[in-house]
Symmetry: C2
Subunit: 336 residues, 2 copies
């Protein structure tokens, strides 16, 4: 193994000088810097991560807790993961993948063993049970999602309440009076997943404010569930003209099913989808969309947690404003 001592010898300087060249924590003469950098390249030197961690109490690793649940839409999860990994690498950090099956002990282990410097948590619930553990870790934490009581933990997410409002407003502005929401799987609501409740409240609240008749149903990701759900929507809201779909997993199936039943989009029925931007393009009709900005959220999560590590930031809650991109799936309601 090539060590810092090898580089130092090769460059004719001391080990500490090599270290300082690498960290930039003190000024180095141009000449010395060049020689050291040349030696580093020539020898193919890479600092030993463990030694570094031991000496500096910094691992340059971020732990990311991902959900293993099957009721959450995997492609969406993966977008967040990708964004976090990419952003982390841009800041010279690596990402350790954690799941929840170890429970609180897993978090304690990672934090106490100094395997990672900080923790990012996905799949946050309204009454997030992990908050006490996370607070006890003495390490920066960022939740991707916003619990009812963040309790001094940083959070970042799309403002799902505003996102729902945006959807409803869009439909209301077009003149729709009877609208419906197809939301996430019942399982997602049942365990109180934070974004689902926030969106639902935004939907019903705004509908009430705008004087619209509104119904909401959850929908499991199976063909039968979609059919039942569409049945229920049409039963509860017989002359529905506006539909909000906040469920990436069933979006395609919902659209086919509606078309199968003879509803033309948007002539008979306007549809607004809530999903990552690039997901909305793969359907026959270009959808009117409120985007889930997974890239921004992931990047912000990383930046927030790194700022905390630098001691330069207090915990904060960041809700990203929704943006609605008009497509061809919404139009004024049909005159009846």
């Amino acid at each position: 193994m090539v060590t810092i001592a090898d580089v130092a010898r090769d460059a004719g300087v001391s080990a500490s000088t090599v270290s300082y060249v690498l960290s930039g924590k003190r000024s180095i003469s141009a000449d010395t810097r060049r020689r050291v950098e040349a030696s580093i390249r020539r020898l193919g030197y890479h600092p030993h991560a463990g030694a570094r961690a031991l000496a500096s109490s910094r691992t340059n690793v971020l732990a990311l807790v991902v959900p293993l649940r099957t009721d959450i839409h995997v492609p969406v999860v993966m977008r967040f993961v990708t964004s976090v990994v990419t952003s982390a690498r841009e800041h010279d950090h690596d990402v350790l993948l954690l799941t929840n099956d170890e429970g609180p002990d897993g978090l304690r282990r990672v934090a106490a063993s100094a395997i990672a410097d900080a923790i990012l948590v996905m799949d946050v619930e309204a009454e997030e049970p992990r908050i006490p553990v996370l607070q006890s870790l003495l390490r920066p934490v960022v939740l991707i999602g916003v619990p009812d009581d963040p309790a001094e933990l940083s959070c970042v997410d799309l403002d799902f309440h505003a996102a729902a409002a945006r959807c409803v407003d869009h439909l209301a502005d077009l003149g729709h009076e009877r609208i419906a929401l197809i939301g996430p799987s019942p399982a997602v609501y049942e365990r109180g997943t934070s974004f689902a409740g926030r969106f639902l409240r935004g939907f019903t609240g705004t509908a009430r404010e705008r004087g619209l008749a509104a119904v909401a149903h959850s929908c499991a990701p199976s063909y039968e569930a979609v059919r039942e759900c569409v049945d229920k929507v049409l039963a509860d809201q017989p002359d529905v003209t506006g539909l909000v779909v906040h469920n990436e997993a069933v979006l395609g199936t919902v659209l086919s099913e509606l078309q199968r039943r003879g509803h033309r989009i948007p002539a008979d029925l306007s549809v607004v989808a809530v999903c990552p931007e690039d997901m909305a393009v793969s359907y026959s009709v270009p959808l009117t969309t409120v985007a889930i900005p997974s890239d921004d959220v992931g990047r912000l999560a990383v930046e927030m947690v790194l700022r905390q590590l630098d001691g330069a930031a207090a915990p904060e809650v960041r809700l990203l404003s929704p943006r609605l991109s008009p497509g061809h799936s919404t139009a004024p309601p049909p005159r009846s």
Copy 2:
């Protein structure tokens, strides 16, 4: 921070004894062991990962290189990832998530910095360009997928050639004479993804052996592509009675599209799907399936790499035998 010295003092033993209690590398009297373990629990001691890595040159971390591509089906990728993480934890290892955007340097960095002990690589191509780097790392590597020339690297995957043969045999045994394959996205073939070519060769080869007329088409994951692909299949093989779908992303769309066009499954057309087991259950017809055993593959990958780390194993190529689970989507062909 609680150190091994704290535990040693608390238990009235030396630090080395605590270390040996933890590692089990020498015998400890029952009494000492109890006292040490009690102290560990009471103080909440967790060994410092960096210190450990430095002293033992073992990080207990496995690096996993995942594809960021969008042409590969994300839920399938995630199943492998999940399986790897779970298995790794069962063997007291953590998983570091790597992507390919750093290129070969990323692999060198991770290996040379001793951030991870070994590397698992997903999304393997037939002419895998990463093989030279991987060989140069001096660390155990397991490829999840099999390149044309593994060159002394360990590999594990479903035997896709045999899997295709199994599909064709099943249809041939039922009496089908004209069959078709809907394979992965063109992009997957173009970059020579290992499993795609192996499956395709198994398909055409076995069809020839069995004397069946066979056509094969790739299919991008969009509604239009599916329609075109189905068109092409029906044009090239007008009286097709057996269809193999090796493309999780379009499976549902293909089924709907066929039904929309009046093909009853399996009365008019038998369909065999190649996909993870649990994916096959979410359709209206329970599908005849050749399962992609992501759990087994991920677990084996971890076990193989750990065995190499223990020095107890040479590189090996493991191809898992396919298993066909009969569903209600295949039947004898209609009499014409």
